[in-house]
Symmetry: C2
Subunit: 310 residues, 2 copies
Amino acid sequence: MFDVEAFVENSLEDIRQFVGENRIISACSGGVDSTVTTVLVQKSVGEKLLAVFINDGLRRKGEPEFVIRTLNNLGIRTKLIDAKEEFFAVFKGKTDAEKKRKAFREKFYKTLGRVAHEEQINYIAQGTIKADVIETVKGIKSQHNVLEQIGINPEIYGYKIIEPLRNLFKPEVRKVAHELGLPADISERMPFPGPALSLRVLGEVTPQRIEIVRRATQIVEEEAEQLKTFQNFAVLHNDKATGIKNGKRVYGNIITVRIVDSQDAVTARARQVPYEILARISDRITGEISSVVRCLYDLTDKPPSTIEFE
Amino acid sequence: MFDVEAFVENSLEDIRQFVGENRIISACSGGVDSTVTTVLVQKSVGEKLLAVFINDGLRRKGEPEFVIRTLNNLGIRTKLIDAKEEFFAVFKGKTDAEKKRKAFREKFYKTLGRVAHEEQINYIAQGTIKADVIETVKGIKSQHNVLEQIGINPEIYGYKIIEPLRNLFKPEVRKVAHELGLPADISERMPFPGPALSLRVLGEVTPQRIEIVRRATQIVEEEAEQLKTFQNFAVLHNDKATGIKNGKRVYGNIITVRIVDSQDAVTARARQVPYEILARISDRITGEISSVVRCLYDLTDKPPSTIEFE
Protein backbone atom coordinates (compact mmCIF):
# COMPACT_ATOMS: atom_id res chain seq x y z
CA MET A 1 0.00 0.00 0.00
CA PHE A 2 1.38 3.35 -1.10
CA ASP A 3 1.59 5.85 1.79
CA VAL A 4 1.31 9.13 -0.04
CA GLU A 5 1.82 11.32 3.03
CA ALA A 6 5.01 9.53 3.98
CA PHE A 7 6.19 9.68 0.38
CA VAL A 8 5.74 13.44 0.20
CA GLU A 9 7.37 13.98 3.58
CA ASN A 10 10.40 11.84 2.67
CA SER A 11 10.70 13.42 -0.76
CA LEU A 12 10.74 16.95 0.63
CA GLU A 13 13.54 15.93 2.98
CA ASP A 14 15.51 14.08 0.25
CA ILE A 15 15.30 17.05 -2.10
CA ARG A 16 16.32 19.45 0.70
CA GLN A 17 19.42 17.37 1.43
CA PHE A 18 20.25 16.97 -2.27
CA VAL A 19 20.00 20.68 -3.02
CA GLY A 20 21.68 21.93 0.14
CA GLU A 21 22.74 25.53 -0.28
CA ASN A 22 22.55 25.34 -4.08
CA ARG A 23 19.91 26.38 -6.56
CA ILE A 24 18.03 23.85 -8.73
CA ILE A 25 16.33 23.78 -12.10
CA SER A 26 13.22 21.73 -12.80
CA ALA A 27 12.43 21.16 -16.46
CA CYS A 28 8.65 21.20 -16.62
CA SER A 29 6.81 20.04 -19.75
CA GLY A 30 3.37 20.50 -18.20
CA GLY A 31 2.76 16.77 -17.87
CA VAL A 32 1.72 15.34 -14.52
CA ASP A 33 5.15 13.79 -13.83
CA SER A 34 7.26 16.88 -14.39
CA THR A 35 4.71 19.22 -12.81
CA VAL A 36 4.46 17.09 -9.65
CA THR A 37 8.26 16.98 -9.54
CA THR A 38 8.46 20.75 -9.92
CA VAL A 39 5.90 21.34 -7.17
CA LEU A 40 7.64 18.91 -4.83
CA VAL A 41 10.92 20.77 -5.35
CA GLN A 42 9.24 24.10 -4.77
CA LYS A 43 7.62 22.91 -1.56
CA SER A 44 10.99 21.58 -0.46
CA VAL A 45 13.42 24.38 -1.35
CA GLY A 46 11.15 27.29 -2.32
CA GLU A 47 12.96 30.16 -4.00
CA LYS A 48 16.00 28.00 -4.79
CA LEU A 49 13.92 26.54 -7.64
CA LEU A 50 13.83 27.84 -11.20
CA ALA A 51 11.27 26.05 -13.38
CA VAL A 52 12.16 25.91 -17.08
CA PHE A 53 9.74 25.28 -19.89
CA ILE A 54 11.44 24.60 -23.21
CA ASN A 55 9.18 25.35 -26.15
CA ASP A 56 10.53 22.85 -28.67
CA GLY A 57 7.79 23.52 -31.25
CA LEU A 58 6.54 19.95 -30.73
CA ARG A 59 3.83 20.62 -28.16
CA ARG A 60 0.07 20.31 -28.60
CA LYS A 61 -2.00 23.33 -29.49
CA GLY A 62 -2.21 25.82 -26.61
CA GLU A 63 0.21 23.78 -24.50
CA PRO A 64 3.01 26.34 -23.95
CA GLU A 65 0.43 28.90 -22.76
CA PHE A 66 -1.20 26.29 -20.48
CA VAL A 67 2.10 25.34 -18.83
CA ILE A 68 3.20 28.90 -18.20
CA ARG A 69 -0.23 29.83 -16.82
CA THR A 70 -0.28 26.78 -14.55
CA LEU A 71 3.19 27.42 -13.13
CA ASN A 72 2.37 31.10 -12.61
CA ASN A 73 -0.82 30.14 -10.76
CA LEU A 74 1.27 27.89 -8.50
CA GLY A 75 3.56 30.81 -7.76
CA ILE A 76 6.58 29.11 -9.32
CA ARG A 77 9.27 31.27 -10.90
CA THR A 78 9.46 30.07 -14.52
CA LYS A 79 11.70 30.70 -17.49
CA LEU A 80 10.34 30.10 -21.01
CA ILE A 81 12.95 29.08 -23.58
CA ASP A 82 11.91 29.43 -27.22
CA ALA A 83 13.93 26.73 -29.00
CA LYS A 84 11.56 25.81 -31.82
CA GLU A 85 13.93 26.51 -34.67
CA GLU A 86 16.84 24.75 -32.99
CA PHE A 87 14.78 21.59 -32.48
CA PHE A 88 13.50 21.50 -36.06
CA ALA A 89 17.08 21.97 -37.25
CA VAL A 90 18.28 18.80 -35.50
CA PHE A 91 15.44 16.72 -36.97
CA LYS A 92 16.28 17.72 -40.51
CA GLY A 93 16.82 14.65 -42.72
CA LYS A 94 16.30 12.17 -39.85
CA THR A 95 13.69 9.44 -40.44
CA ASP A 96 14.85 6.66 -38.13
CA ALA A 97 12.87 6.52 -34.87
CA GLU A 98 15.83 5.94 -32.59
CA LYS A 99 17.92 8.66 -34.28
CA LYS A 100 15.04 11.09 -33.86
CA ARG A 101 14.74 10.23 -30.14
CA LYS A 102 18.48 10.64 -29.73
CA ALA A 103 18.47 13.98 -31.57
CA PHE A 104 15.64 15.22 -29.36
CA ARG A 105 17.35 14.04 -26.18
CA GLU A 106 20.66 15.65 -27.05
CA LYS A 107 19.08 18.94 -28.05
CA PHE A 108 16.95 18.88 -24.90
CA TYR A 109 19.95 18.41 -22.61
CA LYS A 110 22.07 20.90 -24.51
CA THR A 111 19.32 23.49 -24.19
CA LEU A 112 18.81 22.74 -20.52
CA GLY A 113 22.58 22.75 -20.04
CA ARG A 114 22.79 26.18 -21.64
CA VAL A 115 20.14 27.55 -19.27
CA ALA A 116 21.87 25.93 -16.32
CA HIS A 117 25.16 27.49 -17.37
CA GLU A 118 23.62 30.94 -17.86
CA GLU A 119 21.87 30.73 -14.51
CA GLN A 120 24.90 29.15 -12.88
CA ILE A 121 22.83 26.27 -11.54
CA ASN A 122 24.01 22.67 -11.75
CA TYR A 123 21.25 20.77 -9.96
CA ILE A 124 18.37 19.43 -12.02
CA ALA A 125 15.11 17.74 -11.00
CA GLN A 126 13.41 15.43 -13.47
CA GLY A 127 10.02 13.72 -13.61
CA THR A 128 11.23 10.20 -14.45
CA ILE A 129 8.77 7.55 -13.22
CA LYS A 130 9.11 3.79 -12.75
CA ALA A 131 7.62 2.79 -16.14
CA ASP A 132 10.34 4.88 -17.84
CA VAL A 133 13.07 3.15 -15.85
CA ILE A 134 11.66 -0.35 -16.49
CA GLU A 135 11.25 0.22 -20.21
CA THR A 136 14.68 1.72 -20.64
CA VAL A 137 16.29 -1.20 -18.81
CA LYS A 138 14.28 -3.70 -20.87
CA GLY A 139 15.21 -1.90 -24.04
CA ILE A 140 11.63 -1.07 -25.07
CA LYS A 141 12.56 2.54 -25.62
CA SER A 142 15.19 5.00 -24.57
CA GLN A 143 13.46 7.53 -22.36
CA HIS A 144 15.03 10.90 -22.76
CA ASN A 145 15.01 11.41 -19.01
CA VAL A 146 16.71 8.24 -17.86
CA LEU A 147 20.24 9.24 -18.56
CA GLU A 148 22.24 6.95 -16.36
CA GLN A 149 20.30 3.90 -17.48
CA ILE A 150 21.45 4.35 -21.02
CA GLY A 151 25.04 5.13 -20.19
CA ILE A 152 24.92 8.89 -20.53
CA ASN A 153 26.89 10.47 -17.76
CA PRO A 154 24.95 13.54 -16.67
CA GLU A 155 28.26 15.05 -15.57
CA ILE A 156 29.28 15.62 -19.16
CA TYR A 157 26.34 17.96 -19.45
CA GLY A 158 27.58 19.60 -16.27
CA TYR A 159 24.87 18.83 -13.74
CA LYS A 160 23.58 16.56 -11.00
CA ILE A 161 20.15 15.02 -11.32
CA ILE A 162 17.42 14.07 -8.86
CA GLU A 163 14.37 12.08 -9.90
CA PRO A 164 11.94 12.11 -6.94
CA LEU A 165 9.27 9.98 -8.69
CA ARG A 166 11.48 7.24 -10.07
CA ASN A 167 9.96 4.54 -7.84
CA LEU A 168 6.33 5.48 -8.56
CA PHE A 169 3.89 4.29 -11.17
CA LYS A 170 1.46 6.70 -12.80
CA PRO A 171 -1.51 6.15 -10.40
CA GLU A 172 0.79 6.88 -7.45
CA VAL A 173 2.04 10.04 -9.13
CA ARG A 174 -1.59 11.15 -9.46
CA LYS A 175 -2.09 10.48 -5.72
CA VAL A 176 0.90 12.68 -4.97
CA ALA A 177 -0.63 15.37 -7.20
CA HIS A 178 -3.84 15.22 -5.14
CA GLU A 179 -1.87 15.28 -1.89
CA LEU A 180 -0.05 18.39 -3.09
CA GLY A 181 -3.40 20.03 -3.85
CA LEU A 182 -2.80 20.35 -7.60
CA PRO A 183 -5.85 21.13 -9.77
CA ALA A 184 -7.53 18.25 -11.65
CA ASP A 185 -6.35 19.55 -15.04
CA ILE A 186 -2.86 18.62 -13.84
CA SER A 187 -3.47 15.60 -11.59
CA GLU A 188 -5.74 13.84 -14.12
CA ARG A 189 -3.75 14.85 -17.16
CA MET A 190 -3.26 12.33 -19.94
CA PRO A 191 0.35 11.09 -20.24
CA PHE A 192 2.29 12.81 -23.00
CA PRO A 193 5.77 11.75 -24.07
CA GLY A 194 8.87 13.88 -23.55
CA PRO A 195 9.71 14.10 -27.27
CA ALA A 196 6.07 15.15 -27.76
CA LEU A 197 4.64 15.21 -31.29
CA SER A 198 8.02 14.25 -32.79
CA LEU A 199 7.19 10.62 -31.89
CA ARG A 200 3.89 10.98 -33.70
CA VAL A 201 5.27 11.99 -37.05
CA LEU A 202 6.67 8.88 -38.74
CA GLY A 203 9.55 9.88 -41.01
CA GLU A 204 11.03 13.38 -41.02
CA VAL A 205 9.89 15.92 -38.43
CA THR A 206 9.18 19.28 -40.07
CA PRO A 207 7.09 22.27 -38.91
CA GLN A 208 4.48 21.47 -41.60
CA ARG A 209 4.18 17.81 -40.62
CA ILE A 210 4.03 18.66 -36.90
CA GLU A 211 1.21 21.10 -37.68
CA ILE A 212 -0.79 18.32 -39.40
CA VAL A 213 -0.46 15.95 -36.45
CA ARG A 214 -1.12 18.82 -34.00
CA ARG A 215 -4.47 19.55 -35.66
CA ALA A 216 -5.36 15.84 -35.77
CA THR A 217 -4.39 15.49 -32.11
CA GLN A 218 -6.70 18.33 -31.17
CA ILE A 219 -9.61 16.68 -33.00
CA VAL A 220 -8.97 13.32 -31.32
CA GLU A 221 -8.70 14.93 -27.89
CA GLU A 222 -11.92 16.89 -28.35
CA GLU A 223 -13.93 13.91 -29.52
CA ALA A 224 -12.39 11.32 -27.19
CA GLU A 225 -12.50 13.37 -24.02
CA GLN A 226 -15.85 11.87 -23.03
CA LEU A 227 -14.27 8.40 -23.12
CA LYS A 228 -12.00 9.09 -20.14
CA THR A 229 -9.20 6.89 -21.46
CA PHE A 230 -5.62 6.61 -20.25
CA GLN A 231 -4.32 8.10 -23.48
CA ASN A 232 -5.61 9.20 -26.88
CA PHE A 233 -3.71 10.72 -29.78
CA ALA A 234 -3.07 10.90 -33.53
CA VAL A 235 -0.08 9.74 -35.56
CA LEU A 236 0.93 11.03 -39.01
CA HIS A 237 2.29 8.30 -41.28
CA ASN A 238 5.21 8.72 -43.65
CA ASP A 239 3.36 6.43 -46.06
CA LYS A 240 0.86 8.11 -48.31
CA ALA A 241 -2.26 6.69 -49.93
CA THR A 242 -4.64 7.53 -52.72
CA GLY A 243 -7.82 9.43 -52.03
CA ILE A 244 -10.34 11.71 -53.68
CA LYS A 245 -10.66 15.38 -52.83
CA ASN A 246 -12.95 17.67 -54.83
CA GLY A 247 -13.53 14.83 -57.29
CA LYS A 248 -9.81 14.51 -58.12
CA ARG A 249 -7.38 11.73 -57.33
CA VAL A 250 -4.80 12.85 -54.81
CA TYR A 251 -1.95 11.13 -53.07
CA GLY A 252 -2.51 12.21 -49.50
CA ASN A 253 -1.60 11.74 -45.87
CA ILE A 254 -2.68 8.97 -43.51
CA ILE A 255 -3.52 9.57 -39.85
CA THR A 256 -3.84 6.79 -37.27
CA VAL A 257 -5.93 7.33 -34.14
CA ARG A 258 -4.75 5.56 -30.97
CA ILE A 259 -6.97 5.34 -27.86
CA VAL A 260 -5.84 3.06 -25.04
CA ASP A 261 -6.69 2.06 -21.50
CA SER A 262 -3.86 1.39 -19.08
CA GLN A 263 -2.92 1.60 -15.43
CA ASP A 264 0.78 2.22 -15.70
CA ALA A 265 1.68 2.32 -19.42
CA VAL A 266 3.62 -0.94 -19.01
CA THR A 267 0.71 -2.81 -20.60
CA ALA A 268 -2.28 -1.28 -22.38
CA ARG A 269 -5.44 -2.24 -24.20
CA ALA A 270 -6.83 -0.59 -27.31
CA ARG A 271 -10.21 0.87 -26.35
CA GLN A 272 -13.15 -0.47 -28.35
CA VAL A 273 -14.49 2.99 -29.11
CA PRO A 274 -18.10 3.27 -30.39
CA TYR A 275 -18.09 3.69 -34.17
CA GLU A 276 -20.21 6.80 -33.90
CA ILE A 277 -17.27 8.55 -32.23
CA LEU A 278 -14.64 7.06 -34.54
CA ALA A 279 -16.65 8.06 -37.62
CA ARG A 280 -16.87 11.63 -36.34
CA ILE A 281 -13.11 11.72 -35.67
CA SER A 282 -12.40 10.31 -39.14
CA ASP A 283 -14.82 12.74 -40.85
CA ARG A 284 -13.33 15.71 -39.03
CA ILE A 285 -9.70 14.73 -39.65
CA THR A 286 -10.20 14.12 -43.39
CA GLY A 287 -12.56 17.10 -43.67
CA GLU A 288 -10.64 19.71 -41.67
CA ILE A 289 -7.08 18.81 -42.68
CA SER A 290 -6.88 19.14 -46.44
CA SER A 291 -3.87 16.88 -47.03
CA VAL A 292 -5.33 13.90 -45.13
CA VAL A 293 -7.28 11.32 -47.15
CA ARG A 294 -7.34 8.35 -44.81
CA CYS A 295 -7.93 7.76 -41.11
CA LEU A 296 -7.04 4.47 -39.39
CA TYR A 297 -7.70 3.15 -35.89
CA ASP A 298 -5.08 1.17 -33.98
CA LEU A 299 -6.52 -2.17 -32.79
CA THR A 300 -3.38 -3.43 -31.06
CA ASP A 301 -2.81 -3.96 -27.35
CA LYS A 302 0.58 -3.47 -25.66
CA PRO A 303 2.15 -5.98 -26.07
CA PRO A 304 2.55 -6.84 -28.95
CA SER A 305 2.64 -3.16 -29.93
CA THR A 306 3.72 -0.22 -27.79
CA ILE A 307 1.46 2.73 -26.98
CA GLU A 308 3.47 5.15 -29.11
CA PHE A 309 4.58 4.26 -32.66
CA GLU A 310 8.21 5.26 -32.18
CA MET B 1 -33.61 -2.02 -66.08
CA PHE B 2 -30.78 -4.31 -67.14
CA ASP B 3 -31.97 -7.08 -69.49
CA VAL B 4 -29.41 -9.78 -68.83
CA GLU B 5 -30.71 -12.20 -71.46
CA ALA B 6 -30.52 -9.56 -74.18
CA PHE B 7 -27.08 -8.53 -72.97
CA VAL B 8 -25.72 -12.07 -73.22
CA GLU B 9 -27.31 -12.61 -76.64
CA ASN B 10 -25.90 -9.35 -78.02
CA SER B 11 -22.49 -9.97 -76.50
CA LEU B 12 -22.20 -13.41 -78.03
CA GLU B 13 -23.00 -11.92 -81.44
CA ASP B 14 -20.61 -8.96 -80.98
CA ILE B 15 -17.77 -11.24 -79.98
CA ARG B 16 -18.49 -13.58 -82.90
CA GLN B 17 -18.30 -10.68 -85.36
CA PHE B 18 -15.18 -9.26 -83.71
CA VAL B 19 -13.29 -12.56 -83.77
CA GLY B 20 -14.40 -13.69 -87.22
CA GLU B 21 -12.18 -16.48 -88.46
CA ASN B 22 -9.41 -15.61 -86.03
CA ARG B 23 -8.40 -17.03 -82.68
CA ILE B 24 -8.65 -15.01 -79.45
CA ILE B 25 -6.92 -14.91 -76.09
CA SER B 26 -8.71 -14.10 -72.86
CA ALA B 27 -6.48 -13.14 -69.94
CA CYS B 28 -8.24 -14.58 -66.91
CA SER B 29 -7.18 -13.59 -63.39
CA GLY B 30 -9.92 -15.62 -61.72
CA GLY B 31 -11.94 -12.55 -60.74
CA VAL B 32 -15.59 -12.31 -61.64
CA ASP B 33 -15.01 -9.76 -64.44
CA SER B 34 -12.33 -11.65 -66.34
CA THR B 35 -13.94 -15.03 -65.75
CA VAL B 36 -17.33 -13.85 -67.04
CA THR B 37 -15.56 -12.34 -70.05
CA THR B 38 -13.72 -15.59 -70.68
CA VAL B 39 -16.90 -17.65 -70.45
CA LEU B 40 -18.79 -15.26 -72.76
CA VAL B 41 -16.02 -15.61 -75.34
CA GLN B 42 -16.02 -19.37 -75.03
CA LYS B 43 -19.79 -19.55 -75.44
CA SER B 44 -19.45 -17.30 -78.47
CA VAL B 45 -16.48 -18.73 -80.36
CA GLY B 46 -15.73 -22.03 -78.58
CA GLU B 47 -12.41 -23.58 -79.51
CA LYS B 48 -11.12 -20.34 -81.01
CA LEU B 49 -10.52 -19.23 -77.41
CA LEU B 50 -7.31 -19.72 -75.47
CA ALA B 51 -7.58 -18.60 -71.83
CA VAL B 52 -4.32 -17.41 -70.28
CA PHE B 53 -3.60 -17.18 -66.58
CA ILE B 54 -0.43 -15.26 -65.79
CA ASN B 55 1.00 -16.19 -62.42
CA ASP B 56 2.68 -12.92 -61.48
CA GLY B 57 3.55 -14.03 -57.94
CA LEU B 58 1.16 -11.41 -56.59
CA ARG B 59 -1.94 -13.54 -56.14
CA ARG B 60 -3.62 -14.59 -52.93
CA LYS B 61 -2.80 -17.94 -51.35
CA GLY B 62 -4.17 -20.85 -53.40
CA GLU B 63 -5.38 -18.51 -56.13
CA PRO B 64 -3.44 -19.88 -59.13
CA GLU B 65 -4.67 -23.39 -58.35
CA PHE B 66 -8.24 -22.13 -57.93
CA VAL B 67 -8.25 -20.34 -61.29
CA ILE B 68 -6.81 -23.28 -63.22
CA ARG B 69 -9.25 -25.68 -61.56
CA THR B 70 -12.21 -23.39 -62.28
CA LEU B 71 -11.32 -22.96 -65.96
CA ASN B 72 -10.72 -26.69 -66.31
CA ASN B 73 -14.12 -27.41 -64.77
CA LEU B 74 -15.70 -25.05 -67.31
CA GLY B 75 -13.99 -26.98 -70.10
CA ILE B 76 -11.91 -23.98 -71.19
CA ARG B 77 -8.50 -24.59 -72.73
CA THR B 78 -6.06 -22.72 -70.51
CA LYS B 79 -2.40 -21.82 -70.58
CA LEU B 80 -0.58 -21.09 -67.32
CA ILE B 81 2.33 -18.66 -67.62
CA ASP B 82 4.77 -18.63 -64.70
CA ALA B 83 6.12 -15.08 -64.68
CA LYS B 84 6.76 -14.58 -60.97
CA GLU B 85 10.44 -13.72 -61.23
CA GLU B 86 9.93 -11.36 -64.17
CA PHE B 87 7.28 -9.41 -62.26
CA PHE B 88 9.38 -9.08 -59.11
CA ALA B 89 12.28 -7.90 -61.27
CA VAL B 90 10.30 -4.94 -62.64
CA PHE B 91 9.23 -3.86 -59.15
CA LYS B 92 12.78 -3.72 -57.88
CA GLY B 93 13.58 -0.31 -56.37
CA LYS B 94 10.15 1.16 -57.19
CA THR B 95 8.26 2.73 -54.29
CA ASP B 96 5.98 5.24 -56.05
CA ALA B 97 2.40 3.96 -56.42
CA GLU B 98 1.88 5.14 -59.98
CA LYS B 99 5.28 3.83 -61.11
CA LYS B 100 4.45 0.45 -59.61
CA ARG B 101 1.08 0.37 -61.43
CA LYS B 102 2.79 1.33 -64.67
CA ALA B 103 5.50 -1.32 -64.21
CA PHE B 104 2.84 -3.94 -63.57
CA ARG B 105 0.78 -2.89 -66.57
CA GLU B 106 3.73 -2.90 -68.94
CA LYS B 107 4.98 -6.27 -67.74
CA PHE B 108 1.45 -7.66 -67.97
CA TYR B 109 1.00 -6.55 -71.57
CA LYS B 110 4.49 -7.62 -72.57
CA THR B 111 3.85 -11.06 -71.12
CA LEU B 112 0.46 -11.32 -72.79
CA GLY B 113 1.98 -10.02 -76.03
CA ARG B 114 4.66 -12.71 -75.87
CA VAL B 115 2.01 -15.43 -75.48
CA ALA B 116 -0.05 -13.90 -78.29
CA HIS B 117 3.03 -13.87 -80.52
CA GLU B 118 3.96 -17.46 -79.68
CA GLU B 119 0.40 -18.60 -80.27
CA GLN B 120 0.05 -16.34 -83.32
CA ILE B 121 -3.16 -14.83 -81.96
CA ASN B 122 -3.75 -11.09 -82.07
CA TYR B 123 -7.25 -10.77 -80.62
CA ILE B 124 -7.61 -10.24 -76.90
CA ALA B 125 -10.68 -10.14 -74.65
CA GLN B 126 -10.49 -8.21 -71.40
CA GLY B 127 -12.74 -7.91 -68.34
CA THR B 128 -12.86 -4.09 -68.10
CA ILE B 129 -16.06 -2.87 -66.42
CA LYS B 130 -17.68 0.55 -66.23
CA ALA B 131 -16.19 1.56 -62.86
CA ASP B 132 -12.71 1.04 -64.36
CA VAL B 133 -13.55 3.25 -67.33
CA ILE B 134 -15.10 6.01 -65.20
CA GLU B 135 -12.21 6.08 -62.75
CA THR B 136 -9.58 6.13 -65.45
CA VAL B 137 -11.31 9.01 -67.22
CA LYS B 138 -11.67 10.91 -63.93
CA GLY B 139 -8.04 10.29 -63.11
CA ILE B 140 -8.72 8.38 -59.89
CA LYS B 141 -6.46 5.57 -60.99
CA SER B 142 -5.02 4.16 -64.14
CA GLN B 143 -6.64 0.77 -64.61
CA HIS B 144 -4.24 -1.60 -66.26
CA ASN B 145 -6.96 -2.84 -68.60
CA VAL B 146 -8.24 0.43 -70.00
CA LEU B 147 -5.52 0.98 -72.50
CA GLU B 148 -7.05 3.36 -74.94
CA GLN B 149 -8.33 5.62 -72.18
CA ILE B 150 -4.84 6.34 -71.02
CA GLY B 151 -3.36 6.81 -74.45
CA ILE B 152 -1.73 3.43 -74.88
CA ASN B 153 -2.31 2.20 -78.38
CA PRO B 154 -2.97 -1.54 -78.13
CA GLU B 155 -1.58 -1.88 -81.64
CA ILE B 156 1.95 -1.26 -80.39
CA TYR B 157 1.60 -4.43 -78.35
CA GLY B 158 0.37 -6.09 -81.53
CA TYR B 159 -3.24 -6.90 -80.79
CA LYS B 160 -6.90 -5.87 -81.02
CA ILE B 161 -8.94 -5.73 -77.86
CA ILE B 162 -12.60 -6.39 -77.03
CA GLU B 163 -14.09 -5.52 -73.65
CA PRO B 164 -17.59 -7.06 -73.52
CA LEU B 165 -18.39 -5.80 -69.98
CA ARG B 166 -17.26 -2.21 -70.36
CA ASN B 167 -20.79 -0.81 -70.00
CA LEU B 168 -21.69 -2.87 -66.92
CA PHE B 169 -21.35 -2.21 -63.23
CA LYS B 170 -20.39 -4.97 -60.82
CA PRO B 171 -23.95 -6.06 -59.83
CA GLU B 172 -24.80 -6.46 -63.54
CA VAL B 173 -21.66 -8.51 -64.10
CA ARG B 174 -22.81 -10.81 -61.30
CA LYS B 175 -26.21 -11.15 -63.01
CA VAL B 176 -24.44 -12.16 -66.21
CA ALA B 177 -22.45 -14.71 -64.21
CA HIS B 178 -25.72 -16.20 -62.92
CA GLU B 179 -27.23 -16.18 -66.39
CA LEU B 180 -24.19 -18.06 -67.69
CA GLY B 181 -24.64 -20.65 -64.94
CA LEU B 182 -21.31 -19.95 -63.21
CA PRO B 183 -20.85 -21.37 -59.70
CA ALA B 184 -21.35 -19.04 -56.72
CA ASP B 185 -17.62 -19.07 -55.88
CA ILE B 186 -17.17 -17.14 -59.13
CA SER B 187 -20.37 -15.10 -59.42
CA GLU B 188 -20.22 -13.88 -55.80
CA ARG B 189 -16.48 -13.41 -55.74
CA MET B 190 -15.06 -10.40 -53.96
CA PRO B 191 -13.49 -7.84 -56.34
CA PHE B 192 -9.71 -8.11 -56.54
CA PRO B 193 -7.54 -5.61 -58.39
CA GLY B 194 -5.57 -6.47 -61.51
CA PRO B 195 -2.19 -5.60 -60.00
CA ALA B 196 -3.21 -7.83 -57.08
CA LEU B 197 -1.18 -7.74 -53.87
CA SER B 198 1.31 -5.29 -55.41
CA LEU B 199 -1.19 -2.50 -54.59
CA ARG B 200 -1.31 -3.72 -51.01
CA VAL B 201 2.37 -3.43 -50.28
CA LEU B 202 3.19 0.25 -49.74
CA GLY B 203 6.77 0.87 -50.81
CA GLU B 204 8.89 -1.69 -52.63
CA VAL B 205 7.26 -4.94 -53.79
CA THR B 206 9.47 -7.92 -52.93
CA PRO B 207 8.66 -11.64 -52.58
CA GLN B 208 9.14 -11.38 -48.80
CA ARG B 209 6.82 -8.39 -48.43
CA ILE B 210 4.19 -9.96 -50.71
CA GLU B 211 4.31 -13.08 -48.53
CA ILE B 212 3.58 -10.98 -45.40
CA VAL B 213 0.54 -9.32 -46.95
CA ARG B 214 -0.59 -12.65 -48.47
CA ARG B 215 -0.70 -14.24 -45.02
CA ALA B 216 -2.48 -11.22 -43.53
CA THR B 217 -4.99 -11.25 -46.41
CA GLN B 218 -5.78 -14.89 -45.75
CA ILE B 219 -6.45 -14.16 -42.07
CA VAL B 220 -8.71 -11.19 -42.90
CA GLU B 221 -10.64 -13.22 -45.50
CA GLU B 222 -11.15 -16.14 -43.11
CA GLU B 223 -12.38 -13.98 -40.24
CA ALA B 224 -14.42 -11.52 -42.34
CA GLU B 225 -16.13 -14.05 -44.57
CA GLN B 226 -19.16 -14.16 -42.27
CA LEU B 227 -19.63 -10.39 -42.75
CA LYS B 228 -20.52 -10.73 -46.45
CA THR B 229 -18.94 -7.43 -47.38
CA PHE B 230 -18.19 -6.05 -50.82
CA GLN B 231 -14.46 -6.26 -50.20
CA ASN B 232 -12.05 -7.08 -47.39
CA PHE B 233 -8.27 -7.16 -47.40
CA ALA B 234 -4.97 -6.34 -45.70
CA VAL B 235 -2.32 -3.74 -46.57
CA LEU B 236 1.34 -3.83 -45.54
CA HIS B 237 2.75 -0.40 -44.70
CA ASN B 238 6.19 0.80 -45.62
CA ASP B 239 6.27 2.64 -42.29
CA LYS B 240 7.39 0.61 -39.34
CA ALA B 241 6.54 1.01 -35.67
CA THR B 242 7.83 -0.11 -32.32
CA GLY B 243 6.42 -3.18 -30.64
CA ILE B 244 7.31 -5.87 -28.14
CA LYS B 245 7.91 -9.46 -29.14
CA ASN B 246 9.18 -12.02 -26.62
CA GLY B 247 9.70 -9.21 -24.12
CA LYS B 248 12.08 -7.33 -26.45
CA ARG B 249 11.62 -4.04 -28.25
CA VAL B 250 11.40 -4.56 -31.99
CA TYR B 251 10.84 -2.24 -34.90
CA GLY B 252 8.20 -4.15 -36.82
CA ASN B 253 5.67 -4.09 -39.61
CA ILE B 254 2.24 -2.47 -39.63
CA ILE B 255 -0.80 -4.06 -41.30
CA THR B 256 -4.03 -2.17 -42.04
CA VAL B 257 -7.30 -4.09 -42.40
CA ARG B 258 -9.84 -2.66 -44.87
CA ILE B 259 -13.45 -3.92 -44.97
CA VAL B 260 -15.94 -1.98 -47.10
CA ASP B 261 -19.50 -2.11 -48.36
CA SER B 262 -20.19 -0.91 -51.89
CA GLN B 263 -22.48 -1.48 -54.84
CA ASP B 264 -20.17 -0.58 -57.66
CA ALA B 265 -16.80 0.42 -56.17
CA VAL B 266 -17.37 4.03 -57.27
CA THR B 267 -18.32 4.91 -53.71
CA ALA B 268 -17.85 2.76 -50.62
CA ARG B 269 -18.41 2.79 -46.87
CA ALA B 270 -16.06 1.39 -44.25
CA ARG B 271 -17.97 -1.41 -42.49
CA GLN B 272 -18.41 -0.93 -38.76
CA VAL B 273 -17.15 -4.41 -37.93
CA PRO B 274 -17.88 -5.79 -34.43
CA TYR B 275 -14.79 -5.42 -32.25
CA GLU B 276 -14.88 -9.10 -31.37
CA ILE B 277 -14.02 -9.88 -34.99
CA LEU B 278 -11.46 -7.07 -35.35
CA ALA B 279 -9.71 -8.15 -32.16
CA ARG B 280 -9.45 -11.70 -33.46
CA ILE B 281 -8.05 -10.47 -36.76
CA SER B 282 -5.53 -8.25 -34.96
CA ASP B 283 -4.50 -11.02 -32.55
CA ARG B 284 -4.02 -13.51 -35.38
CA ILE B 285 -2.09 -11.11 -37.63
CA THR B 286 0.32 -10.01 -34.89
CA GLY B 287 0.49 -13.55 -33.47
CA GLU B 288 0.92 -15.57 -36.67
CA ILE B 289 3.15 -13.19 -38.65
CA SER B 290 6.29 -12.68 -36.61
CA SER B 291 7.38 -9.37 -38.16
CA VAL B 292 4.04 -7.61 -37.57
CA VAL B 293 3.64 -5.62 -34.34
CA ARG B 294 0.66 -3.44 -35.11
CA CYS B 295 -2.73 -3.85 -36.76
CA LEU B 296 -4.88 -0.88 -37.83
CA TYR B 297 -8.43 -0.64 -39.16
CA ASP B 298 -9.34 1.79 -41.95
CA LEU B 299 -12.28 4.00 -40.90
CA THR B 300 -12.52 5.99 -44.12
CA ASP B 301 -15.31 5.96 -46.69
CA LYS B 302 -14.72 6.47 -50.44
CA PRO B 303 -14.59 9.42 -50.91
CA PRO B 304 -12.47 10.92 -49.32
CA SER B 305 -10.27 7.82 -49.52
CA THR B 306 -10.26 5.17 -52.22
CA ILE B 307 -10.89 1.48 -51.54
CA GLU B 308 -7.30 0.47 -52.29
CA PHE B 309 -4.33 2.38 -50.84
CA GLU B 310 -2.50 2.79 -54.16
